[in-house]
Amino acid sequence: MKKVVVSMLILGVVLAVALIGAIALFTDQATNPGNTFSTGTVDLTIDPTIAMFTVSNMAPGDVQYDGIQLTNSGTLDLRYAMTTTADGNSTLDGQLTLTIDVVDDDGVDNTWYTSDDVVHEANIYDGVLSSAAIGDAAQGNQTGDRILVATTGSERFRFTVELPIDTGNSFQNTTCTVAFVFDAEQTIHNP
């Protein structure tokens, strides 16, 4: 009798498992594919990338014009600042003066960065060459920082370098070399 009971129990378990495995259910699944995340770019480009100025044989009173175009080639709005680094080999960079104007037309002579350019914003810098600066390269928005909108933002600066007419003889046969450094940063989430 005991064997019969055990056999019945085993049979019951086997049947239960078999029934569970055979229950039919309708199912479905949907997928939202291809979720991508890409970062933007902060990309300030300058033209020219080579030196604007290579001036020799300067005499007091000489004035030299040249300029540079800055373009936001990135996908994010950016702000930028300019600083100047000097080689420190002479004090000539402290004697030369620099005026920076924002120009938006090349004037009657159809040549950019000459005396007749149409000035849109005058004297964004006006002082000695050695400490020339626009805005502040520190992170965040500071007075004088300039903003270029993404992809299309662009502006032109005319640089006017002058050796003042009262420059003394001690500056004869001197040379200085400077670099203009442009630091750009994102504006979004960066007040």
């Binding site: 970062t39 933007g40 770019t41 902060v42 990309d43 300030l44 480009t45 300058i46 020219p48 990338t49 080579i50 030196a51 604007m52 100025f53 290579t54 001036v55 020799s56 044989n57 300067m58 005499a59 007091p60 009173g61 540079i68 990135g74 994010l76 950016l78 000539l92 960079d93 030369l96 060459l129 992170q139 370098v161 050796l163 007419i165 420059t167 003889n169 500056f171 004869q172 046969n173 001197t174 040379t175 200085c176 070399t177 400077v178 670099a179 203009f180 450094v181 442009f182 630091d183 750009a184 940063e185 994102q186 989430h189 960066n190």
Partner: protein, 196 residues
């Protein structure tokens, strides 16, 4: 032992968390325009052609072929010293430098102080001799630094070599003054610079 490790991990997280708050990440870019070079000439010579504050006796010895101008010496206004040269409704005409030698100049620098009082357009002109006639350089009323009722500074360079002659002449020409109109002139400096 595990509690010690856990506390250490918590402290590390707190410290690095505060550090990252202090330096918010930001996308940046830097461009440089390098090697801008400036070199001066290895020698130059500056020569003063005229330096006159109208304090001499006679006061106009350097003008109009050693005097005899139609302007007057004035003491009611001067930028330096006691005297200036003045043009009025009564005293007008040409105040012309003698003939300083500006030949072989690289440039000529002209500076002076002037005090216009009620001066109108085309009443005072500064002119340069081209060898046969005088070319008007500026109508003083239109000079960028012009302001009636104030001492104004004129400082300009002559670049055009047609004027670099042995008989360089600069002329102040005045006419058409009204009764209260005045033009005072002081500290006239003319220099030439010669490069080797």
């Amino acid at each position: 032992m595990s509690w010690v490790i856990l506390i250490g991990v918590l402290l590390f997280s707190l410290i690095t968390g505060f550090a990252s708050v202090g330096s918010v990440a930001c996308l940046i870019d830097t461009e440089q325009n390098l090697n801008n070079g400036f070199t001066t000439a290895n020698s130059w010579q500056r020569t003063t052609l005229l330096n006159d504050s109208f304090e001499g006796d006679p006061w106009d010895v350097n003008w109009n072929d050693n005097g005899n101008t139609t302007w007057q010496q004035a003491s009611d206004k001067s930028y330096s010293g006691i005297w200036s040269a003045a043009s009025t409704e009564v005293y007008f005409g040409n105040l012309t430098t003698d003939n300083p030698d500006a030949s072989s100049a690289h440039w000529i620098h002209v500076s002076f102080w002037f005090y216009p009082d009620a001066v109108k357009n085309n009443d005072v002109r500064i002119q340069i001799y081209n060898g046969s006639t005088y070319d008007t350089w500026y109508d003083m009323k239109n000079y960028p630094g012009f302001r009636n009722g104030e001492w104004c500074y004129f400082s300009e360079l002559v670049w055009d070599s047609q004027y670099f002659k042995s008989d360089f002449r600069l002329r102040f020409n005045s006419s058409g003054f009204d009764e209260n109109e005045r033009f005072y002139l002081d500290d006239v400096l003319i220099e030439k610079l010669v490069l080797p």
